[in-house]
């Protein structure tokens, strides 16, 4: 659903436009790295065309209704987060200019919610899960399911936050939050199923094309005198250990904060608060339809009034972490850019002592090499 003009006031629209422009500038550089500087334009363009087309692919639900893919999580997993942000942003830009779908002044809001938040949340979750789960294709599919499932309500929460700051209508935040998150949990469920199935389908045919599954390929084994030995490594030289250890620390910290923000706050907000009360005393009328539309899945996710408020609290924490990570990474990246001008390729000695994981499997090296020269 695209936000039209006049829904968010002018200053906040301008602020989100600045956020969107910054994120796109970062993604333009990132996409050059993900795809190769020359290949970036045609490949990202074709992937954007794919996202545009796949949004028209209707998935019938039941009784004549159907849904379609939003594509943020899918793009992030298939082609990488930077290219994903770019592709979805370009699709939104063209929809606003060509098809008048979504307002021109609301473009910043639309890009922030639908391109940046979905893609970043989905990719961070996906990466974390792939790190934790066993290194198989099935876990890639499972990780993309979870990533897509969370990314859609995350986008709804981001919209609610923007609305809370600069909304022009006088509807209480609690109502907007419950309605948005409730509906988008359902949409997210569909998105998750479709994304996981699609990623699985691509993995089965061209696993090398799935950006999120890089580093999962098995080492080539040779049978020498009846014994299996590793084939001599002909791939690129492994990156220095410093990069890897920093990466491990980074992932661990991220997972910890996500767990804290998402699950601990879930229990912390168990006491009834304002949001919960609002949800309780208004929610009957609008939610009745939702309950009718959804049979079993809703029960699992507990989008009853109380649970919805708690879950949204937890999700809001996750989003907060996501946004902080984005901001922090941006600063870190700028600083590193600066510094790398002076010390071109010497690994910082500070990280040397902390590399106890030198025995990580070689594919991880390859993967880290593809990913850590951020």
């Amino acid at each position: 659903m695209h936000v039209p003009d006049g829904f968010i006031n002018a200053p906040v629209s301008a602020a989100t436009a600045v956020v969107a422009a910054g994120a796109i500038a970062v993604s333009l550089r990132g996409a050059r790295r993900e795809l190769g500087s020359e290949r970036a334009a045609p490949l990202a363009g074709l992937v954007a065309a794919f996202v545009f087309a796949v949004q028209m692919l209707n998935f019938p639900v039941a009784g004549g209704t159907s849904g379609h893919l939003l594509g943020g999580a899918l793009a992030a997993i298939l082609v990488g987060p930077y290219t994903g942000v770019l592709c979805v942003s370009v699709v939104l830009l063209m929809q606003a200019i060509l098809f008048a779908d979504g307002g021109l002044t609301a473009l910043g809001v639309n890009i922030t919610c639908m391109a940046i938040v979905t893609t970043v949340v989905a990719y961070v979750l996906f990466r974390g899960l792939v790190k934790v789960l066993p290194r198989t294709r099935r876990s890639v599919t499972a990780a993309s399911f979870v990533a897509a499932l969370v990314s859609v309500p995350a986008s709804a929460i981001a919209f609610t936050l923007i609305y809370a700051i600069g909304g022009t209508a006088d509807v209480s935040i609690g109502r907007v939050a419950t309605a948005m998150v409730g509906v988008h949990l359902l949409i997210g469920l569909g998105e998750a199923v479709i994304t996981a199935l699609t990623v699985g389908a691509v993995l089965a045919v061209r696993p090398d094309l799935v950006y999120g599954a890089r580093g999962l390929e098995q080492r080539l084994k040779l049978r020498v005198n009846g014994e299996l030995v590793d084939a001599p490594d002909t791939g690129p030289v492994p990156v220095p250990a410093a990069a890897r250890s920093r990466r491990t620390v980074w992932i661990a910290g991220l997972m910890t904060s996500l767990v804290l923000a998402g699950f601990v706050s879930f229990y912390a907000s168990a006491d009834p608060d304002g949001l919960e009360r609002v949800a309780a005393d208004h929610g009957i009328a609008e939610r009745a339809e939702e309950h009718a539309a959804a049979d079993s899945p809703l029960a699992d996710y507990g989008v009853k009034d109380v649970e919805g408020a708690r879950l949204s609290g937890g999700l809001a924490g996750v989003i907060g972490v996501g946004l902080t990570v984005v901001a922090g990474t941006g600063v870190f990246w700028v600083v590193r850019r600066r510094r790398s001008g002076e010390t071109s390729d010497a690994a910082p000695p500070v990280n040397k002592p902390s590399d106890p994981d030198t025995d990580t499997a070689p594919p991880a090296n390859k993967h880290a090499g593809a990913d850590t020269d951020v």
Binding site: P42, G45, F59, A100, G103, T168
Partner: protein
């Protein structure tokens, strides 16, 4: 460009608005929408004035009213939302035809409806009078990053190709007796989406190679450099300037 590269919102004609350089039109529409959004919602007459201004532009561009009104239908989902707003908003209530409505909600609904409709109408006018290729050139001249413009132009150029590919896959599915009726068929559709992704990506690789063999080195050549006269700028910016006057009056009065 040839007739094959015209998008479905474009309406071919020869009018002063069609003849304007694309980036002046883009700048004008953007400025106009910004002005509309920053108008106070209490100044109802101002929105009427904006509508009249857009009507004048549509008349100058020879865009029929029926065409314009038909394109406004894209807004319908938000109209539904706006209709709900008076019922759920906070604040003091008034009785209208036996219904208890929130005053703030009514204002909010009016705000979203008026500004949203004007924004959509302005975008529709822009799209109706500017060709695709021109729009992209206009974006480039407005200093959008070249890579972004290239991605957008590839998306536009191959959007129809990929959509057609998807259509052919649907026809292939249906000619084999497949009909998607419910959740059980999502697997097949998702496999189609996966295949579509692989085909798109591989097409991108082939396109890149074809471009390399024609001397592509990271940037597209600009073959039609347009110089814009001051008269054209002032003609294009007449719309947002008039809107700005209305907006200032709306704040003052």
């Amino acid at each position: 460009m040839g007739s094959g590269h015209v998008h479905r919102l474009y309406r071919h004609a020869h009018s002063p608005v069609h003849a304007l350089p694309p980036h002046t039109k883009l700048a004008a529409v953007l400025a106009f929408v910004v002005v509309v959004v920053s108008t106070p919602r209490e100044a109802m007459w101002a929105f009427g004035a904006y509508a009249v201004l857009l009507g004048l532009v549509a008349y100058a561009a020879r865009v029929p009213a029926g065409f314009l009104l038909g394109r406004l239908l894209i807004e319908v989902p938000f109209v539904a939302f706006a209709v709900l707003m008076p019922f759920v908003a906070e604040g003091e209530r008034v009785e209208v035809l036996g219904l208890s409505l929130s005053v703030n909600g009514l204002w909010g609904a009016w705000n979203v409806l008026a500004k949203g409709t004007l924004g959509v109408a302005a975008s529709v006018l822009l799209a109706a009078t500017t060709e695709l290729r021109e729009l992209l050139l206009g974006l480039q001249r407005l200093r959008l990053p070249p890579l972004l413009v290239q991605i957008a132009s590839f998306m536009i150029r191959y959007g129809d190709v990929i959509t057609d590919e998807m259509r052919r896959m649907r026809i292939a599915r249906e000619s084999r007796g497949f009909e998607a009726r419910g959740l059980r068929h999502w697997g097949v559709l998702a496999k189609s989406a996966g295949a579509l992704f692989i085909r798109s990506y591989e097409r991108g690789e082939r396109v890149h190679l074809a471009m390399l063999s024609r001397g592509y080195a990271g940037s597209m050549p600009v073959i039609d450099e347009v110089t814009v006269s001051r008269a054209q700028w002032s003609y294009a910016l007449a719309l947002p300037s008039a809107a700005l006057v209305v907006c200032v009056l709306g704040w003052v009065l």
